[in-house]
């Protein structure tokens, strides 16, 4: 049996050979429980560990990762080799800056065992079944306990223990020639924020609206982006407000700092410090304290997101948005990159019902296929509406099929914003946003 080398010892060993170094170590215990078609399918226990070494030698960056905590020679050699021709490092590894705590650990999550997680899934399956026994329910429940350790040669030493609970539910109604799939998810560091029954009830509500199918014409019309649908207008902003895309000149917001680019009712906050939100932590994965800041305030661009490297290149301050796992995960294997924390859009005054009641003909878009495809950077979207409803004379008339929506987010949120609803909803554990109603979205339908 080989003996594990302590992270601190490894860092000390390498420190004499380099200008600076950073060691990130992640141990995780994950417990995914899957239900397929209303039945328990599998339970897994995933125990993994790995570390990443990032270093600066002669001013250049090197990087390597390994899962073998007993082997230091390969890790150090690989990182040093890549530093021979790596990019110049426009930053130094940071010293530890004091910051207020952010809650990321919940004993209740830690204590959930296989049987408790199975019971959570069964409760969701039963709730859906009680509405319609023909519906097929898939559930994935994910409990994790992570130990993160981040050390660098500037004396930074952060150890953090985090819990996570995530539930995703996907319900299918399959009739010949007509299949509807409705999904939703919730995630948090804390047990009480993840309400499986509430997810199930929200999905049932959408199935009730979908009982009747109606036709919609092909023309520009108002669209209300609700729940998961709200990701459509917000996704392009993630590219546009990314400091690296701004620095590279690819973002359409690149020269727009302090300019009015969107409607004055629209504000967007990136919050890395919201207690228990699944993307929150006291420090980012480079040891910079996370922050809460307005990216867009009253339609004016106030701030872009930066990690250490991009901030150094752009001559900006890091914003605590350097994360090793971007939106798509990746854990310790990836170098840090610019990524959003939780995104909040402050709500408006009117309820969703009130907004709908003022619309003669509109689409309520709850879910699309093809999110993120196409020219996202330019703000363009073009999506198949997989769960969407025709609003006729202020009432939900039924579900629309074979319908595409298209538009440009920057244009719609600037000149066509109708309203923001009063109640924000969580989307992907990332966005907490109200329904967003805009006019003039192109709709193409085969009826």
């Amino acid at each position: 049996m080989k003996t594990e080398i302590r992270a601190a010892n490894l860092l000390e060993e390498v420190s004499g050979q380099v200008d600076g170094a950073e060691l990130y170590q992640l141990r995780s215990l994950e417990l995914p429980v899957r239900f397929a078609f209303g039945k328990l399918e599998s339970v897994q226990s995933v125990e993994t560990a790995g570390r990443a070494l990032r270093l600066i030698k002669d001013g250049r960056l090197g990087f390597s990762t390994t899962t073998d905590l007993a082997d230091d020679t390969t890790l150090v050699r690989n990182a040093l080799e890549s530093a021979q021709f790596g990019d110049p490092a426009p930053f130094e590894f940071p010293v530890k800056q004091p910051t207020e705590p952010v809650a990321c650990f919940d004993r209740e999550v830690e204590q959930l065992d296989e049987n408790a997680l199975i019971a959570l899934g069964e409760e969701i399956v039963e709730e859906i079944k009680s509405y319609d026994a023909q519906l097929q329910t898939d559930v994935v429940i994910y409990r994790s306990i992570q130990e993160v350790q981040l050390l660098n040669t500037s004396g930074l030493d952060i150890q953090d223990r985090r819990t996570g609970l995530a539930i995703s539910v996907e319900v299918t109604r399959a009739r010949e020639g007509d299949i509807v799939i409705i999904y939703d998810s919730a995630s948090s560091h804390r047990r009480q924020d993840v309400d499986g029954l509430a997810l199930a009830r929200g999905i049932v509500e959408r199935f009730q609206w979908a009982e009747k199918t109606v036709k919609v014409g092909s023309k520009p019309m108002p669209v209300v982006f609700h729940r998961l649908g709200a990701a459509v207008p917000l996704l392009p902003l993630m590219s546009g407000l990314n400091g690296r895309q701004v620095f590279l000149g690819a973002s359409p917001l690149a020269e727009k700092l302090e300019q009015q680019v969107l409607d004055e009712r629209f504000t967007l906050v990136d919050d890395g410090r919201l207690d228990f939100a699944s993307r929150s932590a006291p420090y980012d994965d480079e040891g910079v304290p996370t922050t809460r800041k307005s990216l867009i305030e009253g339609g004016v661009v106030r701030q872009f997101l930066y990690d250490l490297k991009t901030a150094g290149l752009a001559g900006a301050q890091p914003t605590g948005n350097g994360f090793k796992s971007g939106l798509r995960g990746g854990g310790f294997q990836r170098p840090p990159d610019v990524a959003p924390s939780t995104w909040l859009v402050p709500p408006g005054e009117r309820s969703l019902e009130e907004i709908l009641s003022g619309l003669d003909e509109a689409l309520l878009v709850e879910q699309v296929i093809g999110l993120g495809q196409g020219n996202v950077m330019a703000g363009e979207f073009s999506n198949n509406v997989s769960v969407g409803f025709l609003v006729h004379n202020g009432e939900i008339a039924g579900r629309v099929k074979n319908t595409m929506i298209a538009g440009n987010v920057y244009e719609l949120l600037k000149d066509q914003l109708l309203a923001l609803s009063d109640r924000p909803a969580w989307v992907f554990g990332l966005l907490h946003v109200p329904a967003i109603a805009v006019d003039g979205v192109s709709v193409a339908s085969r009826g």
């Binding site: 296989e114 170098p335 296929i369 920057y410």
Partner: protein
């Protein structure tokens, strides 16, 4: 390693147990604009145990091989919990136990090519992208290689060691004109090969940059219903995304309603329509001799002469549906159990020339390559990377923002011509399913003509 795995297998009291251990060496070089965003080599070692007890699977993943025996016990304990919830027994379709070693020999094994050579070659391609035009504002250029040694053993006596190489290249140019006209052109390439496959690809960089610049002048498409001709690449994305996923039996075997629609023997398209799922095409990314359950690869028809033939299977789905395992049980890594996945999937070639396909189209769309595709059962959507008008049977002006969408069964029936120019293509990404992405696969087809297809776009 062999003794350790066999000893761990012996610890199991489950009905069936398998262990898969993977050792992977990876490198990545990644440029964004002029900046080398990442360069690094990594190694990863880990394993997964699956135990089947009665009707339940228990699964345990580990990094430390010292933990293997304990993890076998954990997997068995979990399987018992699952089994208590599921009275129905799980059967596995029989597969002959096999002892085999599958080694590959590469002209330039990426593990012995210095990192600097990889960085230099990518820098060359990245420079080509950047220098093509002053309208190119930034780039994404990524090189990856991976060499995996997969050891698979099960309680029925199978013991396989298989090496799987994979190299990829992604070249993206972003062109910009004014504040809001931002366009991307890309070319990508992925093969089961060594570093040699990544050499001499300057033309791809040039093509990607030229397309980004050309797209600045392209007309946005007007949404509506059109006759659409898709190029071999988009034909491949279509058949993989829209049809292939429905034929994955892990999904199908529990879904009675979908089984009612997808009945073997039922006609789904014209006589000339053939869809093939192949475990081995020389050099392609979807290849592996054995899948991640130790089943030998096969080549199967999903559709033959327009008629549905069968599905892709794991051992479990094959037993449930009374079929033969097809070698489609695949996992992206040791962190995941195998699920039913595609390998090399394509529409086989027909007889029409490209000119014959265009003939008689008054106004249509020629859609090429794909930004991506997604499906929800029968509904699909995929975005063409670029497109052209077809006017009076001739290729016309360039179009952009072309997104195709529809119902797969209607669309298969609306295919009326199939070209004679099959191409199978491996990209730099891969397929995603059940949280497992990216899995190396390939896809392809010839040029295919589809009547009455909905194209999303902004009204003009």
């Amino acid at each position: 390693m062999r003794d350790r795995i066999l000893r761990a297998l012996e610890r199991s009291g489950a009905d069936y147990t398998d262990i898969r251990v993977e050792h992977q060496w990876r490198t990545e070089v990644f440029y964004q604009g002029e900046h080398l965003q990442n360069v690094g080599a990594s190694s990863e070692l880990g394993g997964i145990v699956r135990c089947l007890v009665g009707g339940g699977w228990g699964i345990a993943v580990f990094n430390s091989l010292d933990e293997m025996e304990r993890r076998v016990e954990d997997a068995q304990r979990i399987a018992q919990i699952v089994s208590d919830k599921l009275p129905e027994e799980v059967e596995l379709a029989p597969v002959e136990p096999v002892q085999d070693q599958v080694r590959v020999s590469l002209p330039k094994d990426p593990r012995s090519v210095p990192l600097q050579q990889k960085q230099e070659i990518l820098k060359g391609y990245n420079d080509t992208l950047l220098k093509y035009s002053d309208k190119i504002v930034t780039t994404n250029a990524r090189y990856t290689d991976s060499f995996k040694e997969v050891t698979f053993a099960n309680s029925a006596g199978t013991f396989i060691v298989e090496e799987r190489p994979d190299v990829t290249l992604m070249l993206v140019a972003t062109a910009r004109e004014g504040a809001t006209n931002i366009q991307m052109g890309f070319e990508q390439y992925g093969v089961a090969a060594g570093f040699e496959a990544m050499e001499g690809q300057e033309e791809k960089a040039e093509t990607a940059a030229r397309r980004a610049v050309d797209l600045l002048q392209a007309k946005p498409v007007k949404g509506g219903v059109y006759t659409v001709v898709v190029d071999p690449l988009l034909a491949g994305v279509f058949i993989h995304e829209a049809f292939g996923h429905l034929c994955e039996a892990d999904f199908l075997h529990k879904n009675e309603r979908l089984q009612g629609i997808l009945q073997p023997g039922r006609k789904f398209g014209v006589e000339e329509l053939n869809v093939i799922e192949d475990g081995y095409r020389p050099g392609l990314r979807g290849n592996s001799k054995y899948d991640d359950e130790g089943t030998l690869r096969r080549r199967i028809y999903l559709i033959r002469d327009g008629v549905l033939q069968g599905f892709m299977h794991s051992r479990e789905t094959a037993a449930r549906m009374g079929a033969q395992p097809t070698g489609n049980a695949r996992a992206i890594s040791y962190r995941f159990p195998p699920i039913v996945r595609m390998r090399n999937t394509y529409i086989d070639q027909g007889s029409a020339s490209f000119d014959q396909i265009l003939e008689g189209i008054d106004y249509g769309i020629y859609a090429c390559a794909a930004f991506g595709g997604q499906t929800e059962l029968e509904q699909f959507t995929f975005s063409a990377a670029y497109a052209y008008e077809i006017v009076d049977g001739k290729i016309g002006e360039m179009l952009r923002d072309v997104v195709l969408t529809g119902n797969i069964f209607d669309t298969l029936r609306n295919i009326d011509m199939i070209g004679n120019d099959l191409q199978i293509w491996g990209g730099a990404g891969g397929c995603g399913k059940g949280g497992q992405a990216p899995l190396p696969t390939t896809l392809g087809g010839p040029h295919v003509r589809i009547q009455n297809l909905t194209v999303g776009g902004r009204a003009q």
